[in-house]
């Protein structure tokens, strides 16, 4: 009846133990511009992450909330990742769904929360305009950066901590 954290972890093949390690890693060596933490103390399979827009991009200085949801099959399958904060980006739709190869067919079990958030940061830097989810954003990114930024600022909501 006690010590359920230990007994419920089956032989090192558990999404929980893997996520515990990842959390430990993030806490012990945080990367600048990104953070992530489980939403609920009792459920390690739902995390909330925050990334900062990279310098030199329209997203500079902005912070975006990201939801990560891990299935029992993690890390063999990619977590479900989406933007919670309103986003304006060629590869993100209006509901926050993300089109990113490493979250789909290019997922590998060696990726982790940190690499996902880093990939999202670089996606903000370099959108993949050949297969956009937001065609208007893709077009503006190539043709009218001022208008792009305007749209972005119109949608952007600051995170209140």
């Amino acid at each position: 009846m006690e010590g359920s954290s230990k007994s419920s972890i089956p032989d090192g093949h558990s999404v929980v133990s893997r996520l515990q390690s990842e959390l430990m890693q993030l806490m012990l060596s945080p990367s600048p511009g990104l953070s992530a933490f489980p939403e609920d103390e009792e459920d390690l399979t739902k995390w909330c992450g925050i990334i900062t827009g990279p310098d030199g991009t329209p997203y500079e200085g902005m912070r975006f909330k990201i939801a990560l949801e891990f299935a029992q099959t993690y890390p063999y399958t990619a977590p479900k990742v989406r933007f919670v904060s309103p986003m304006w980006h060629p590869n993100v739709d209006m509901s926050g769904n993300i089109c990113l190869d490493i979250l789909k067919d290019q997922w590998s079990a060696v990726y982790n929360v940190q690499t996902i958030l880093l990939s999202l940061q670089s996606l903000l830097e370099e959108p993949n305009n050949s297969s956009p989810l937001n065609a208007v954003a893709a077009e503006l990114w190539d043709k009218d950066m001022r208008e792009y930024k305007k749209k972005l600022i119109a949608r952007y909501e600051e995170i209140d901590d």
Binding site: M1, E2, S4, S5, S8, P10, D11, G12, H13, S14, S17, R18, Q20, S21, E22, L23, M24, Q25, L28, S29, P38, E41, E42, L44, Q72, T73, P75, Y76, T77, S108, A109, V110, N112
Partner: protein, 460 residues
């Protein structure tokens, strides 16, 4: 009870390479990282090597290859049949893992190089584990120095304590002679790997002489049950002579402590007699064939077709990892137990979940369960029947706690309360057995709360 512990408690035992970051040996972060699997992030269990040169836990990579036929690190093409077990890495990691907490303790100790710990920890750490030799030169130095400060133990007085320089010098003739010697068709038992320098020597030489030289410490290294006088003429004479009496005094246990992993490695080899389980082409199999396959492996045939397929696939993976890769294969019985524990979390439908045990239910999906629980949809009778055993255990525990609490009260004097307690003690039984039903609030509350609430109802 079955609530998950707080996050901070959950992760306080999680080890991480960065545990060494702010210690005297930050270099160990690198080693600690290298010995971990990139899939599960834990220390590699039953390591297997891919043709592209990457190492993973046998189970992790096999699970991965069920979905994707490439190396997760470099994306090179990869199939299960290409995996090769790495017994040496297995023992290195096992050895390091056994040593880690001590290493951490030493690395965290006082900044002036003095180690405020008992000598025993140093003594135990020194002889054996492969982890120690991974220390970079400076760290090695540090440890040796602390050892030298150590008060003389049992037979230190009869052992030469050469300076590091002379140790290195005296080593040379020994090594070269040993290497040439070990090339002769020696039986595996006759040679062993030095846990300090990792070179191979005939066991006797290793135990009698070499370890001492490597460790600069007789009481640690020369842990040998003497067999016959040294055959090796070239082994540096003065050490051999001085060590001999020491060796005779040292008891058996220290031998195994020093050489377990090396011996296990030397004794490892291809296992005979157990065949690899094949991957099945389920699309061409009838349910009947599938069931008879599972039956032949003594596995359950209950569940949907997909569950049976999952069951076979997972068992095939456990089996092949165990019998093909593991240095010490487990029994089939244990594999089936592991399969069952995997199924509890990964291969259960809603239907089978309902039949599961209480802790599993509460752990798994506590919020929805409890929600159900408060409505009439909840099948109380079924629940009680299914969990009778757990309830009885809880009640037993509650009664025990209550009795204990009352004993304490009693010692502070009050007879009435004891009577109350006795009544309360008998009450919980009647709830579960006579009425066959338990008020919903009592199922989810902690045991102490059960006792208080039943105490409350006694008076009525």
């Amino acid at each position: 009870m079955s609530r998950l512990p707080k996050l901070s408690e959950q992760i306080q035992d999680v080890s991480d390479p960065r545990d060494f970051l702010r210690t005297k040996l930050p270099e160990l972060v690198d080693l600690d990282t290298l010995l971990r699997c990139h899939i599960c992030k834990g220390f590699i269990k039953t390591p297997v090597l891919t043709p592209c040169g990457h190492t993973f836990c046998s189970l992790c990579i096999r699970e991965y290859l069920n979905r994707e036929l490439k190396c997760p690190l470099c994306l090179a093409e990869l199939r299960e049949s290409m995996l090769r077990s790495e017994f040496l890495v297995n023992e290195i990691i096992a050895s390091y893992v056994g040593l880690r907490s001590k290493l951490l303790e030493i690395a965290r100790s006082g900044p002036d190089g003095t180690v405020p710990h008992s000598d025993t920890s140093l003594i135990e750490i020194a002889p054996g584990d492969e982890g120690a030799h991974e220390l970079s030169g400076d760290d090695d130095l540090q440890i040796i120095e602390t050892r030298r400060n150590r008060p003389a133990k049992r037979n230190a007085e009869i052992v030469l304590m050469p300076s590091k320089k002379s140790r290195r010098d005296s080593e040379k003739p020994g090594i070269s002679s040993m290497i040439s010697k070990s090339k002769s068709p020696a039986l595996p038992e006759d040679s062993a790997e030095c846990p300090i320098c990792q070179k191979h020597f005939p066991l006797e030489y290793l135990q009698r002489t070499h370890l001492d030289e490597c460790l600069t410490m007789g009481s640690l290294g020369a842990a040998a049950k003497p067999t016959s006088p040294p055959k090796i003429g070239k082994a540096s004479n003065e050490t051999t002579v001085s060590v001999q009496p020491a060796a005779e005094r040292i008891s058996e246990p220290s031998v195994s402590a020093n050489t377990t992993h090396s011996n296990r490695y030397l004794e490892s080899g291809q296992k005979q007699g157990v065949a690899r389980l094949a991957k099945l082409n389920f699309s061409s199999m009838s349910m009947q064939q599938l069931k008879s396959k599972l039956t032949s492996l003594k596995l359950s045939t209950i569940g949907s077709r997909q569950q049976l397929i999952n069951r076979y696939n997972h068992y095939e993976m456990l089996w092949n990892s165990n019998f093909m890769d593991s240095i010490e294969p487990l029994e089939e019985k244990e594999l089936r137990r592991r399969l069952a524990s995997w199924e509890a979390t990964h291969n259960s439908s809603e239907g089978t979940l309902r039949k599961g045990n209480i802790s599993k239910l509460l752990n798994k999906n506590s919020t929805t369960r409890i929600k159900d629980f408060k409505t009439d949809r909840f099948d109380r009778k079924g629940w009680i029947l299914a969990h009778q055993q757990e309830f009885n255990e809880l009640l037993e525990e509650a009664r025990h706690n209550l009795a204990k609490a009352n004993k304490m009260k009693y010692s502070a004097s009050n007879q009435d309360e004891v009577e109350d307690a006795e009544q309360a003690e008998s009450h919980p039984n009647s709830i579960s057995c006579e009425k066959g039903e338990i008020p919903s609030n009592q199922l989810v509350v902690k045991t102490e709360e059960i006792s208080t609430s039943s105490q409350g109802t006694t008076g009525v």
